[in-house]
Symmetry: D2
Subunit: 484 residues, 4 copies
C-alpha cells in the first residue's frame, strides 16, 4: 500500500495533459498547481491513513483475490460489514479533510463493474468478469487511484445518445479491431481525475438496442494518448493563489476538483474492456454504480457536516453567544440532520445483499433515499451554519488587510469577539464556514451521484407500491377481485 | 406460544377494572367493548403471526434463558440481528394492522430493566438482575403481554417529583415491609394496558437523591387489588359503536388504546421489585427504555405509512388521477419520507452494542434521530395523503346514508369515481385515509416514546460536539492551546 | 340587516330536505340537530356582529346599488379598502368562532358572477348583468345567506363533463323553455348549504364548446322542489350528541358543515339564470370565484390559527412549561406562520384592481399564493400546537369520567397541571386543541377553495415567466435575437 | 435629480480612504476598482431610472418639504401608497441589476431618524427634528446617496456596550463641545458605504441609562477626517479582475459591497447630530429603522429571485428539459416562494400607519415576518435553482478555456446543450446562476436587516399573545376570573 507521499510521487510520473484557466500545465507539476494541490492532499489522505494505526481498521481490507492487506478503496465488498466500514471510513476521512477525497468514485466503479460483468457473462456467455478480476488485482497490487467515469456531456437532454446532433455527446466506440477498441467523446464533472492514475469508463444511462456503440465500459490511463483534461472552476479558486486564511480550508480543496475529460479517439486493449455493445446491461451497471455511490453521501457529507457543525459552534463561542439557548437548539438541529444522513448510509449498508458474483451490494432503495436526503438536508445544515456564523462570513476583509501595517490594527480590533480569542482565529473560522457552506460545495451535494430527480425515479421502481395498495385495500375491507 | 385466540381467552380470565366513558365494564367483557375490541385484535396479531410460517422468522426467537422458541415480544435481544429483526417485525405487523399493536412497550421495558439491573447490581451490590431474569422467564413461558408503564402524570412540569403540591403526581413507594412494597400514584397514556396481563413500572425521568421514593421499578398484574384504569377517548371512537365503513379500519383500533392507570396503594412482593430507591440508576433505566422504544418508530410507523401510501394511491386510481405526474411525484415523496424513517430504525439497530449483561442495546443517538424524524415526517406524509385523498375524506356522508333506501342511490351515484369501481370501495378507502391521517394517530407520532424536545436534549449528550469543534479548528489552521 | 336570532328564525321557515346519518330531518328542526347547530351558531355570528359597535365597521358596508347600510357579506366590493376589510372581518370573526362561518362562499360567488356577467354581456351582447344586479339587491335587502355552489362530483377526473359515463357528474341544463331552465346533477362539499337560504350555482372548471349544457350559473332556493341535501360526517361529530367538554368547541361547529346537494331536475326561472351555455366565460367565472375565495384563507385561517396559538400557550401555562425557551420559540414560530398567511391575504387585496363592471377584484397571483401557503403552513401550525399540547390531547378520558362519582376524583387529581388551575379547565383546553388541529379541520385547509395543484397550475398562467427569462439573459450578457 | 453619470462623477470628487485587499486606493479611482465598479453601477441605476419614463413613477416622488420632484430614495414616506411604491420600485430595480443597489439603507435611516426625532422632541423637549428636516432637504436637493450606518462590531455578544473589554466596540461620543461632538468606534457590514456621499449613524440596539455615550445618531461625510473604510471580500471577487463570463453578472456586483468603516475620533457639528445621550429613544430608532429595512426584502429579493427563476428556466430550455413536468413544477415552486416574500412586503406597506411626525411607518409585525421568510425561502429558491441548473454550475471551465485556440473547441463542443443555442450562452447562464445562488448572496439574505433571531424576538413584542389566549379560553368555555 502506498503512503500519501508515494501516491504524490507516482502522480508526477504521469504524462498527463491538464488545462487550467486556458493554460496547459507541465505534466510533472500538475499536482503543484494551487487549484489542484488541495485535491491531491485530500486524496493522499486515503493513502496515508491506511498506515495510521487508529484508522487502518477502516481504511484497509483483505483482498478476496490475493488474501493480502489492501487499501479499502481498491476492495471488492465481501460482506455487509465491509459496506458499513466503507461508510464509517468516509465519515472519518471527511472529518480530517472537511472535503471530498474523490477516491470513492473509482472504488464504486470497480464494484459496479465487478458484479455486473458476472451477471452479464452468465446471461450472455461473454467473458468480461475475468478481465475485471485481473484489473482489480492490478489496482490492488499497485494501490492505484481510479477515477470513476460515468457522466457524459449529454447535449440535448430530451434526446437519446444516437439522436444527438453531435454523436460524441456520449462516449462511444468508433472502432473495433483484434487488439481492442477506439473510443471517442468526453466525460464531464470528473471528480479526482487529474490526480488519478486510471479512469474506469461506464455508460451513463440505460440503453436501447440502437445505442449499441454507446454501451461501453473500459479502463484507460488518465494520460493515455488522445486524453486531455480541462479543469473546472470552483468557488473562490483564485484565493488559492493568495495567502492562507482567505482560503478557509487551506490544506484541502473544495469538493472533488472536477474536470472535463476529452477522449479523442483513444485506443483500449481488449483486456481492459468490460462492456462493448451489451445494451441490456448498461442499465444494471449504471444502477449498481449509482447505488454504491449514493450509499456514500451520508458518510462523506456526514463527516463534512461534522466540521460545519464544529465550525459554527466555535464561531458561537468566539462571538460570545455559544451558550444562548437558540444557538444550542440550532446546533442540535444540525446534529439531527447530519445523523439522519448518516443513518441512511448505515441502513442501506446493513441491508446489503450478496450478488451472484459473491460481492456485496447495498440496498438500492435506501441508498437512493440517503442521497436524496443529502440534496435537501445539506442545504438546511449550511443555512443554519450561516445563521450562526453571522454576517461576518460574507463581509470579512482579506488576510492582506489583517497583515497591513496601517489598518491591520483596525481589523484586529473591530473583528474581535470575546476578549480571550485572537481575531485571527475568529477570521479563520469565519473563512472555513464561508468555504464549506456555499457555492461549489452546495452544488456538489445536489448533483453528485445523481440529481434529485434521478433518485425519485428509482422510488417507483424499487418500492413495492402494489403491495402497499393491496394492504390498504385489505384493511379498508375491499374485496380483491380474482384477477387482481 | 399462545395463539391470538388463546390470548383473547386469557384476557377474559382477568378481574380487571376498566372505565370507559364513565362506565365500569364487566371484567370478562372488557375486550368486547367497541372502543377496546380493535386494540385487542391488533395485539392478537402479535400472537397469531408467531404461528404463521411466513412471519415466524421475525415474530419468534430463541430464549437465551431456556433455549425454547418464544414470541419475540418476550425476548431479550442477543445480537444486532435481533435488533434488526425487531424493526422488520414491527413494519410487517403494521402493514397488517395499519395501527399500533401495543406490545413493543412491554418488550422494551423488559429489555431496559434487564440490562440496567445488571449494571446496577454490579455497581451497588443489589440483587435485582436475578429477579428480572426469573420474571422474563415467566413472561416467556406464559407468553404474557406486558404493558410498559413509564409516564407519570407529572403535574406541574416546572417542579420535580418531590416538589409537587400532590406527592402522587409520580408513582412512589409509600410502604416497605419484609414481604414487599406498596406503591401509589398513576401512570398516564398507558398503551395496551387494558388488554395486557401485567404492567412493568419504571421511573419516568432521572432522579436526584431527594427523589428516593420515586425511583421504583416493579411488575404488577393489571388486575391487582388497588389498580383501576380509565380509558381515553380517541378520534371518532363513537363510530366504533356504529356500522363498519365509517370506522375506516374497522377491524383494528387507532394507535394504542391509551388509558390512565391508577395505583391506589398497590402491594408488590419483593421478587417483582426491580428498583427501589436507587436514584442514580433511574436515568439509565429511562434512557435505555427510551432508546429501545424510539428504535421502533421507523418500523411501526414505517408500516403504518405504507398503508397510508397504498390508500392514497388507491384513491388516486379510483378517482381517475392515478397516472397524473404530480400524483406520482407525491407518492414518491411519501415513499422517500417513509424509508427515511425506516432507515433510522435499521441504522440504530445495526449500530447496536452489547451491554454488560450480554444483551444488545441500540445506538441511542440514532434511535433518537429516528423518533425525532417521526415527529416531523409523519405529518408530511399524512399531509400529502390528505392532498391526494381529496376533500372527500372530510365531507363524505355516513354509511347509513349509503344504505338508506331513498338517498342511497344518490350517494352511490355522486361519490363514484372511475366507472369500474364501486362507490362503496371508494368510500372505504376515503374512510381509511381519514382514520389514519388525523387526530389521535398524528398526536401519537408526536408524543409516543417522548416528545420532540426529549430527543433534542439527548443530542447534546450523545453527539461529541467537542470533537467536531476541534476538527474544525484543525482545518481552519487554529493552534490548539495546551489546556484545550 | 338581520340579527343572529332573526337569521335563525328565518331558517326555520324553510321547507328543506336534509338527511343526517341516513335520517331525514324535520324541516323546522334542521338547525337544532346537534351536528348542525354549531354551524348555525357560527353563521349567526356574521349577522350578529353587524349590530356590534366594535365590529360593525368591518361587518357592514354601504350598498352601491341602494346606498343603504348592508351586511358586508352581501356587498359587491367597491374599492381596495373593501377587499382589505373583508380579510380583516374574516380574521376577526374566526377569532370569535374558532371555525368556519361559511358565508364567504356565497359572498365570493356573488362578486364573481357580478363582474363576469358584465364582461360576458359586453362581449356577447347577453343580458345577465342586470339580472345579477337585481339578485344582489334582493340579497342585500333581505340579508340573505347564499351558499356558493361550485364543486361538482366530477366522477372520473381524467374525463371532461361530457365524457363521463354518467352525464350528471357535473350540473347541467336538461331543459330550456320560455320560463326558465331545468338543471340536474349535484354539488359536493357544499359549505353552509343546510343553513343558507339560497344557493348560487357556478360551473366548476373551464369548458370547451362541447360542454355547452354544463356552462350554467343560476340561483336556487335551498328548499326548491327537487333539491335535497345529504350532510357529511365530521371528525368526532358524535360527541356533539354528548356532554359539552369533549366537543372542544361546544358552541361552534368544525369547519363548514359540508353536504352533498342533489339537484333532481330543478326548475330555475330566467331571471335567476346568469350563464347558460356561454362556455367561453366558464373559465373566467371559475377563476374570479377561486381568486376571491382564496383571498379569504389568510384571514379566516389566520383567525383560527390565532385561537390555536392561544390554546397552545394556555396549555403550556397550565402545564407549567409556559416559560420554557423552546416553548416560546415554538409559539413565535406559529405566529410567524400565521402572519405569513395573513400577509398574503392583505397583499392580494391591496393589489386588487377595478374590473370593467366597476367592482374590485383581488390580485389573482397573490391570492393563489396565499391559499397555497394555507395548504402547507396550517399543517405546520397544527403540528407545533400538538407538540406543545402534549400527549394529553390524544388520551384524555371523557367528560363522563370527570363527572363520575367514583373515578372523577382520579381524573381531577391526575390530569391536574399547575396547582392553581382546575383540571376541568386543562381538559377544556386540551379538547379545544384536539378539535382544532386534526381531521376535518386540516383537510379543509388543504382542499377548501381548491386543492394545491389548482393553485400551482395558476402560477404558470399568472406569473410572467418570459419576462423573467429575458431579464436573466440580459444580465448574463446574452444577445437577444430579433425573433425573440 | 442626478443622472447615473453625474452620480459617478460626484463620487470622484470625494477624498475618501478605501482599502481593498490591503491596498489604499487612490480617492478618485475608488469607483474604478474591479471589486467596487459593479456596486457603483448598481447604485447608479437608482439615479438613472429616475429619468426613465417607464420607471419614474416609482423612482421619483414629490418632496413634502419643498414640493419638488425628487428621487424616491431621498423621500420621507407620506402615505401607504408611498410605502407600496417603495416595494415595487425595489423589485423593479432588482430585476434590472440582479443584485443589491444599496441605497435603501440610507433611505430607511432617513425615515427612521425623521419620525423618531419628532417623538423624542415631543417627549424630551429636544430639538432634533428640525435638524433632520434640514438635513433631509439637503439630501433631496443634492440627490445625495446616504449610507445607513447601524451595525456596530459588538465584540462579545454576551456583554452590553459599556461592559466590553474595548469601549470602542460600539460607536460612542468621546467629546462634546459647543461646536459639536467627537465620535469613535466603527460600523461593520456597511452596505454601499464606499460609493456613498454621506453616512447616517444610528445606535445598534436598545440602550440602558449607563449606555449614554453610545446613544448617538449623526450624519458624517464618508470622506470626513478620521474616517477610513476596509472593503470586505465577496465570493469570487477575484474573477472581477479577469474576463467577463466567469463573473456571472459582469456589470453589477454581488449584494452590497460591504466594508468596515472606522471612525477614529471624527468631529460632527451639532446641526448634524440627531441623538446624543437619549438612551430611552435608542430602541425606537433601531426598531423604526429595522422595520423599514425589513420591509424591503420581499421587494429587492423578490426581484433578485425573479432573475434566479428566469435563469433557471433559461438553463432548462438550453439543456433540453424545459418542458419536463418536474422542472415546471420546480419553477412554479420558486414562483410561489418568491411571491410569498413579495406579499409580505406589500402587506406591511398596505398596513402602514401615520406617525406623529406625519410620515408613514410600515406595520412592524408584518415587516419582520417578511424578512424572516427571506432568511428561509431564499435558500429554498436557490436550492431549486441549483437543482435545475445542473452540475455544470459547479464544474464549468473558465472563459479562458473557451477562448483557448487549442481546447476552446472542446469546451464549445461538450458544453453544448440543445443544438440551436451557442455554448457560450449556456455558459453565461450557468455563471449567472452560480453568481446568484451561493456564497455572499445567500448570507446577505440571512443577516441583512437583522439575523433571524432578531425577528423572532420581535414576535413576542408585536403580536398580542394575551388576546389570543383569552379568545381560546372563551371558546373552550373557561370562565375568566375577575383578576384576569
Amino acid at each position: 500500500m502506498k503512503t500519501g507521499l508515494e501516491y504524490m510521487e507516482s502522480l508526477r510520473k504521469r504524462n498527463i495533459k491538464v488545462y487550467v484557466k486556458g493554460q496547459l500545465l507541465k505534466s510533472q507539476e500538475v499536482i503543484d498547481h494551487p487549484f489542484i494541490r488541495g485535491h491531491v492532499n485530500s486524496a493522499a489522505m486515503t493513502y496515508e491513513l491506511a498506515h495510521d494505526p487508529v484508522a487502518e481498521d477502516l481504511v484497509t481490507a483483505t483482498s478476496h483475490l490475493t488474501g493480502k492487506k489492501i487499501n479499502r478503496f481498491t476492495h471488492i465488498h465481501q460482506s455487509k460489514e465491509d459496506l458499513i466500514k466503507k461508510v464509517k471510513m468516509l465519515r472519518m476521512i471527511s472529518q480530517r479533510t472537511g472535503t471530498c477525497y474523490q477516491r470513492c468514485v473509482g472504488f464504486d466503479a470497480l464494484n459496479a463493474v465487478y458484479c455486473t460483468t458476472y451477471e452479464m457473462d452468465q446471461k450472455l456467455g461473454t467473458g468480461y468478469h475475468e478481465r475485471i478480476k485481473k484489473y482489480v488485482e492490478y489496482i490492488q497490487e499497485n494501490d492505484i487511484m481510479v477515477a470513476g467515469a460515468m457522466t457524459d456531456p449529454k447535449g440535448d437532454r430530451s434526446l437519446r445518445p444516437g439522436q444527438q446532433a453531435d454523436p460524441d455527446m456520449f462516449v462511444h466506440v468508433v472502432e473495433r479491431n483484434d487488439k481492442g477498441i477506439v473510443v471517442r467523446g468526453a466525460k464531464a464533472h470528473m471528480t479526482g481525475m487529474v490526480n488519478s492514475h486510471e479512469m474506469l469508463i461506464m455508460p451513463t444511462m440505460s440503453m436501447v438496442a440502437e445505442d449499441k456503440d454507446y454501451a461501453v465500459s473500459c479502463a484507460i490511463p488518465v494520460d493515455a494518448p488522445g486524453v486531455l483534461h480541462i479543469f473546472g472552476r470552483q468557488t473562490n479558486d483564485d484565493r488559492k493563489c493568495e495567502g492562507e486564511i482567505d482560503q478557509g480550508n487551506a490544506q484541502f480543496g473544495i469538493v472533488g476538483g472536477e474536470c472535463l475529460t476529452v477522449l479523442e479517439n483513444v485506443f483500449v486493449p481488449w483486456e481492459k474492456v468490460f462492456m462493448c455493445g451489451e445494451t441490456d446491461f448498461a442499465g444494471m451497471m449504471v444502477g449498481r454504480f449509482a447505488s454504491y455511490h449514493r450509499q456514500n453521501y451520508g458518510g462523506c457529507k456526514g463527516g463534512v457536516s461534522d466540521i460545519v457543525i464544529g465550525a459554527a459552534a466555535v464561531m458561537a463561542d468566539y462571538s460570545g453567544y455559544g451558550k444562548a439557548t437558540h444557538i444550542k437548539d440550532k446546533i442540535n438541529e444540525m446534529i439531527h440532520l447530519t445523523e439522519t444522513l448518516y443513518a441512511c448510509s448505515i441502513a442501506c449498508s446493513s441491508e446489503g445483499k450478496q450478488t451472484a458474483s459473491g460481492s456485496y451490494f447495498v440496498d438500492p432503495l435506501l441508498a437512493n433515499v440517503g442521497k436524496h436526503n443529502v440534496t435537501r438536508l445539506i442545504y438546511d445544515i449550511d443555512r443554519i451554519a450561516q445563521d450562526i456564523g453571522g454576517g461576518l462570513t460574507a463581509t470579512l476583509p482579506s488576510e492582506s488587510d489583517l497583515r497591513n501595517p496601517e489598518i491591520g490594527k483596525y481589523v484586529e480590533k473591530y473583528f474581535k469577539g470575546v476578549a480571550t480569542v485572537p481575531t485571527e482565529d475568529r477570521m479563520r473560522i469565519a473563512r472555513l464556514l464561508e468555504n464549506m457552506t456555499g457555492g461549489t460545495a452546495l452544488v456538489e451535494s445536489m448533483h453528485g451521484a445523481g440529481s434529485p430527480q434521478a433518485q425519485k425515479i428509482m422510488y417507483s421502481k424499487l418500492s413495492n407500491l402494489e403491495h402497499k395498495k393491496r394492504a390498504a385495500m385489505a384493511l379498508a375491507g375491499i374485496k380483491l377481485k380474482e384477477a387482481e
